[in-house]
C-alpha cells in the first residue's frame, strides 16, 4: 500500500494531462489561468486523498474534484474582482503558440455554459456516460438529454463561426 505522497505523485503524473486539458477548455484556452486552475485541482486532490474510499476509479474521482474546482474558481474570482475572470478569459494569450485549430475548439466550447462546457469536455475525453453522470451527480437519462442539447448548441456555434 503506497503512502499518500507516493500515491499523489502517481496520480499527478498519470492525470496531469487530463486535468490540465479540462482546465484549458474551461478557461477558454488561456494557458496561465488553466495552469493556476490545474494546480488548484491537484491541491484539492491532495487534501481529499484521505477521503478516497475506492467507490469509483481514481480517474472519475479526480474528474469530480476538477469539475468542482472549476466551478468554485469562477465563484471565487468574481468575489475577489468584480470585473470577473470572464473578461480575462476572452483575452488573447500573446505568449500562446497553440495553433489556430485548438483556439477554435476552445472558443467554441467556451461559448457554452459552465456546466455544459465541463460535460462536453468529459465526452470529448471519452469518459463513459455512467461515469460522467456520476461526476456531475445526475441520472444517465438526464445526461443523455443534456449531451444531445449541448451537441446541437455546439453545432450551431461552429456553423456560425
Amino acid at each position: 500500500m503506497p503512502n499518500n505522497s507516493d500515491l499523489f505523485e502517481t496520480l499527478h503524473t498519470d492525470y496531469y494531462g487530463m486535468v490540465n486539458q479540462m482546465c484549458l477548455g474551461f478557461m477558454k484556452g488561456n494557458k496561465d489561468l488553466a495552469q493556476d486552475l490545474t494546480q488548484e485541482a491537484f491541491i484539492n486532490t491532495w487534501r481529499a486523498l484521505d477521503k478516497f474510499k475506492g467507490a469509483s476509479s481514481y480517474k472519475t474521482w479526480i474528474y469530480r474534484i476538477t469539475v468542482n474546482t472549476c466551478l468554485k474558481y469562477i465563484r471565487d474570482s468574481k468575489t475577489k474582482d468584480q470585473s470577473s475572470i470572464e473578461e480575462h478569459m476572452h483575452l488573447p494569450d500573446d505568449s500562446d503558440n497553440t495553433d489556430q485549430e485548438h483556439q477554435e475548439l476552445y472558443r467554441a466550447i467556451g461559448q457554452l455554459g459552465e456546466v455544459d462546457r465541463l460535460i462536453i469536455m468529459m465526452v470529448l475525453d471519452e469518459l463513459d456516460y455512467n461515469e460522467i453522470a456520476e461526476v456531475v451527480g445526475i441520472s444517465e437519462g438526464n445526461l443523455r438529454v443534456k449531451i444531445h442539447r449541448i451537441k446541437k448548441n455546439l453545432k450551431k456555434i461552429l456553423e456560425n463561426e
Binding site: 505522497s5 499523489f8 505523485e9 499527478h12 496531469y16 494531462g17 490540465n20 486539458q21 484549458l24 490545474t38 494546480q39 491537484f42 491541491i43 484539492n44 491532495w46 487534501r47 481529499a48 477521503k51 474521482w61 469530480r64 474534484i65 469539475v67 468542482n68 474546482t69 466551478l71 468554485k72 465563484r75 468574481k78 468575489t79 485549430e101 485548438h102 477554435e104 475548439l105 476552445y106 467554441a108 455554459g113 459552465e114 456546466v115 455544459d116 465541463l118 469536455m121 465526452v123 470529448l124 475525453d125 471519452e126 456520476e134 461526476v135 456531475v136 451527480g137 445526475i138 441520472s139 438526464n142 438529454v145 443534456k146 442539447r149 451537441k151 446541437k152 455546439l154 453545432k155 461552429l158
Partner: protein, 198 residues
Amino acid sequence: MSDLIDDLKNKWDSAKTNKSDRTSTTELIDLSKKKMRDAVKMHIGNIAILTITLIGISAFFMYVAPLQETLSHIGIALMLGGLFIRIMIECFSIYRSSKVDFSETAVATSKKTMSFYSYRKRIHGPVTIGILIAYTVGFYVLTPEFTNYLTTTQVVLMDASYLLAAAIFGFSIRKAIKDEMRILNELKDLQEDIGKDE
C-alpha cells in the same frame, strides 16, 4: 452530428499535452500545506481579535471602570454576550466550511456549498445585525452612569465616536451580505443549470 463530435474529438486529442514544466508534487504538497496554514491563521486571527476585545472590555469594566448600577450591568452583559456569541459563531463557521468536500458529485458539492452560504447569509444578516443592535443598546445603556464620572463633552464624544464605528461595521455587514447573496444566486443558477433537461 457524429462527424462534428469526431472532428472535435480529434482536435481535443491533438491539443492534449503532458507538459514537463508542471509544478512538482513536492511543491504542490508544500503549497497545499501553506494554504492550509494561511487559512487557519486567518480564522485564528479573527477569533483572536474578538477574544482580545472581549478580554479587554471585561478587564476595563472590572479594573478601570467598575460600574455599579443595574442598568450598566445589563449593558455590559449585552456587549460581552454579543461578542461571546460572535466568537462561538466564528468557531462553528470554521467547522461548517470544512464540511464541503470537493470529491463529491458536482450536485452534492454545490448543495453543501449552498447550505454553507445560506448559513453565512443568516450569520452576516439577522444574527450579526442582532448582535450589533445588542452591543449598541448595551453601549448606550452605560451612558447614564458614565455621566456621573465624565464631563458631558467626553460622554458626547464617546457616544458619537461609537456611531462612526457602528456605521463602518454596518457597511462591512452590508457588503458581506451582498457578496453572500451573489454567490447564493450563482449557486442557485448552477443547480438549475445542472437540473435542466430533467
